[in-house]
Symmetry: C2
Amino acid sequence: MAYDAIETPFGKTDKILGGCATYIGLAASQFHTDCALVSVIGEDFDKNHKQLLLDRGIDLTGVETIKGGKTFFWSGKYHNDLNTRTTLDTQLNVLTQFRPVVPQHFKDASFVLLGNLDPSLQLEVLNQMESKDRLVILDTMNFWIADYREKLDEVIARVDVLSINDEEARMLTEEHSLVAAAKKLHQMGPKYVIIKKGEHGALLFYHEHVFCAPALPLEEVFDPTGAGDSFIGGFAGYLAQRKSTAVADMKSAIIFGAALASFTVQEFGTTALENLSTPALNRRLNAFKSLTEFEIELQ
Amino acid sequence: MAYDAIETPFGKTDKILGGCATYIGLAASQFHTDCALVSVIGEDFDKNHKQLLLDRGIDLTGVETIKGGKTFFWSGKYHNDLNTRTTLDTQLNVLTQFRPVVPQHFKDASFVLLGNLDPSLQLEVLNQMESKDRLVILDTMNFWIADYREKLDEVIARVDVLSINDEEARMLTEEHSLVAAAKKLHQMGPKYVIIKKGEHGALLFYHEHVFCAPALPLEEVFDPTGAGDSFIGGFAGYLAQRKSTAVADMKSAIIFGAALASFTVQEFGTTALENLSTPALNRRLNAFKSLTEFEIELQ
């Protein structure tokens, strides 16, 4: 959980609510399922922000408040194409003291999502889980691939679903072809590999098959922050609601995740997710359906 | 129609059969429809290559042979990622004397595909057409956008379907968002705008809607030459077979085009298209279907 200050070609924010856990929680809480966050905040964390999450039924007993500490802060500026960004400031603050503790009543969770963070912390969470039949989903990014590779490999070996973007998949495997990269990633552990391609959608590789999910073509991307978190939070939330790990449900879960991400990027920070209504979500899901439907009569 | 010498990370060819008309003809002739090419060749053009096209029922009365002339020649080298290439040699040869003549018995064609060439020549073809209800499809590329813009705009204003890649759409419209770019392209004339995104598939923009076609994720792209031509040739061939310009058929046509392109890139030059069997094409169409199918239960 974090505070972000963001600049895009369309505007600029002061400190706003951010962090992968926040986006994941807001996305997952769109679904009918129990959801808890494990994270750390400082005493500066706004009680209205805490209430916002509690109001959506998100369990925060696993969120530690460090006395006298300050919440993690990130500030960045997106360039004109919105595909690249420059980090202006990173203040780790309470993150340096973070020792994740999974609440006892969530240790038997059937769905565990390890958000984008230090692989050592992801391992600490995983080691506390007691459920036997669980689906573990891992999200990560280039920073951990470059400098924490050994620990990251250890986490990857223990998860069922790996979510990663195309450039990171290439970086991890040294393969240019995403099909070849997915093969190598499977060999590292995960049975399911999701490769995110931003505006080009996402691919799910499973049992030597591929599923290709579109992204909704948007006229304007306002702020890409949290898109990947919203995507994977929606993915996990949908599967938890369905209580399913079937491939057919994973495909639907990817569409739900992509739909949630498409809302996130249309406003600054968590604004769109906070205000999202079920009818609006359903309209967008229908748009995804009509976006991809075609008939084929074989020759 | 051309001869190409191609180098990719996987190998190298001497002069082989190439040219947009050749790929278009081979792709379109997969369908049950009459098809004629309008092009120019030199006396060096191999009679076996001519026979290859004739054997597939392609009408070549519109292909002029220039006495003593040499066929257009292009030589290029693809870089490691296969997304960029360097032109090593271009010999225009007979292309400098090309005055396209549409055969009388094809002037009433219902489907006219203007392959990637000088916009002035594309206009000359269009001016010879006598059919009233016809669908005109235009393919073009960066070279014509940069240096022949005025003539190109004139062609674009007169066509129904524009096929263009993502970078070219951005170049033509000075819009980064493909949705915004498509809007501007519609305003230039075409009711249907296809934006090709290589390994990320293609988008069809029509009547304020979008259709998103996937590309088949391939482990190895062997030689990208002719992929765009195969795509649009397949698109036109399928529509001609269906005798339809309905949007539903255009969507199917894009999938057929993408399937044909996916074969083309798996071998050097026209090899894969030459040897393609109907069962193999049908298997690949089924792969496209299962690649994109998902179910959504609304929330």
